[in-house]
């Protein structure tokens, strides 16, 4: 049984981030692994016994609203991470986990501080499809972001083509952050499967035909993006 906690889906979910929950759940279920998904709304207590925490993207006003609960996030998700739970945070959700988010008007909000870095406005907004790699896996997606994370931590995605950046996101222990949507995990099933392996602590059983169909479709989606980028 894998416990997935979807954090603040009603405010953080601007770019179809519910797809990340769907991909993890389906890819586990298609292999006969049971999954329990808990959705936590703003102000509700976040359980700290989850195996995987998913935090989606949001506009600046959404990140500001969620940041009012940064302390609760730090406590609950922090203690889960201390017990080696995994976190995938997208865009604004990743910014929320850094120490501080600066806005272009000079103001800032305090983040959960689970990622040792600061989120700052980009000089130019980044919008478009990209391809890249993470730990030897080819990944692809779409980035639409006005903020970046300043950190000494390693990036999650390297060798990026299609956009004016070389790398994206952060890896902070078991926390992964990226600006990629698409949604990220449906289109990059190898990353999803690796998260499931870590959560299960074991190899994944073979899946059914539905799993193969979804994997093939995702592979073709990335192939199409790679062709558009001309690589």
């Amino acid at each position: 049984m894998i416990r997935i906690v979807h954090v603040y889906p009603e405010v953080l979910g601007l770019f179809g981030d519910s797809g990340n929950v769907l991909a993890l759940r389906k890819r586990a279920e298609w292999r006969g692994i049971r999954v329990a998904v808990t959705e936590v709304e703003l102000g509700q207590k976040i359980p700290s016994n989850g195996d995987i925490y998913l935090i989606g993207s949001g506009s600046s006003s959404a990140v500001k609203r969620a940041a009012e609960h940064a302390r609760a996030l730090a406590d609950s998700v922090g203690s889960a991470v201390a017990q080696s739970a995994q976190v995938l945070a997208i865009g604004g959700g990743m910014h929320l986990l850094t120490r501080r988010v600066d806005w272009s008007d000079g103001t800032s909000v305090v983040g959960a501080g689970l990622i040792d870095g600061v989120s700052v406005p980009r000089s130019q907004r980044l919008v478009g499809e990209f391809i890249g790699s993470t730990d030897g896996l080819d990944v692809a997606g779409f980035i639409n972001s006005g903020h970046d994370v300043v950190t000494n931590l390693a990036p999650h995605i390297r060798d990026i083509h299609g956009l004016s950046i070389a790398s994206d996101g952060v890896v902070a222990g078991t926390i992964i952050g990226t600006h990629s949507h698409g949604a990220y995990l449906p289109m990059n099933p190898a990353v999803a499967d690796r998260m499931l392996v870590s959560a299960l602590g074991d190899e994944l059983p073979d899946g059914n035909e539905a799993l193969r169909r979804a994997t093939h479709a995702a592979n073709e989606s990335r192939r199409a993006i790679r062709q558009r980028i001309g690589r």
Binding site: S18, V127, F142, N144, P186, A217, S221
Partner: protein, 423 residues
Amino acid sequence: MRTVLAVVLGRIVRVLTRLRGGGSALPGWVALRVAPNFLSTVFDTFASRGEAPIIVVTGSNGKSTTTAMIVAALEANGHIVFSNPSGGNLPQGVASAVLASVSLRGSLKASAIVLELDEAYGPKLVATIKPTHAVLLNIQVDQLNRFFEPERVIEMVHQIGASAQTIIVNDADANTRAIGNILAMQSHAVYGFDVDPAAAPRGVYDAHVGIQTRADRRAPRALVTAQSARVTGIEVDGETVSVHLPAAGLHYALDAAAAIATVAVVMGSRHDASVSARAISDLNPVYGRGEEVQAFAAPLTIVMMKNHPSLQMNLDALQEAPESLYMAVDEGTPDPSWIYDIDVSALDHVDVLSGTKAWQWETRLAYAEIPVGLVEENTSRAFAHFGVATTPSRQEFRTAIVNYEQMMDLRRELGYKEIEGQQ
């Protein structure tokens, strides 16, 4: 003098482009190059004639449909209306439309103007148009690759609203309602249209961002009391009229309520709501929005997937899963991440999936375990296959769900020559 020159040159270009069967924005572009003040001259001349309303319509969804409805209702109630054709909502498009009905001296032969405005260009255009009435339809998560954040759209729609003395807002949408409340405090006259919550069990999919006040709704000037498929009841000025919608869905019912509220506000006691209802009921669908075209010697209903809310409301409105379904999405939808927010359970299969983004939709449908017959990125091959592979048993049950660009391509391929945005 420049105005005369702009009209003459613009008209010549208009004739030439129409001979070629080509684009529509060019004549307007030429007129604006010759006389940069062309549009303000025309609108100032119109405004100087007195009380005639200048109505602008904006929002994320429903601009073209609502504009067409307001025009039809005003005309049926005796007005002579100047409007921009569906989709021609950028400055060049508006100028092109003006060229078709303006005198050499820049005088429009109309008693009312109704213009659809793009959210992004609107704030700049209203300085020229100087609208008397602004209709604010909704603010939805839409075209983020272009707008970046819904908050920016809220700001643009707010600016368009602030340019008019009289505002008609969608009170079922949290953000346009909030804009209406702010403008009311700044002594604008604000009227609302709304939907009875019982008639909208799934809500209106407004953007959950932005101002989000819980402020009260106004007493609605027009209220959607019931909506079922293509028939809606709208309560206005103490009577309930029945409207046959151009296509099925709550969003079209709200568009009709917006139109009836607007015409009621503009015409006051001279408005005959039943005349408006009949005029709106007689409308054909705007291009690709539930429009029925002929393909493979049978009717094909084109449903547009513009963004999450519009596609969801179109799917919610389906009476049953389409029997023969073609779907196509291309680079006109650069980032289809939002398809994961769509409840696709109204579909039981897709026959053919096409366009450059076909595999992203196939991924979405694979995760929803909805069968797909064929994925073929090449749209010509895919659509030809759709014609051969499907034989709908009931006429209306061949359906295409496509994005805007694919809708235009499809119409062109099927020999529908008129192009959106062209007079």
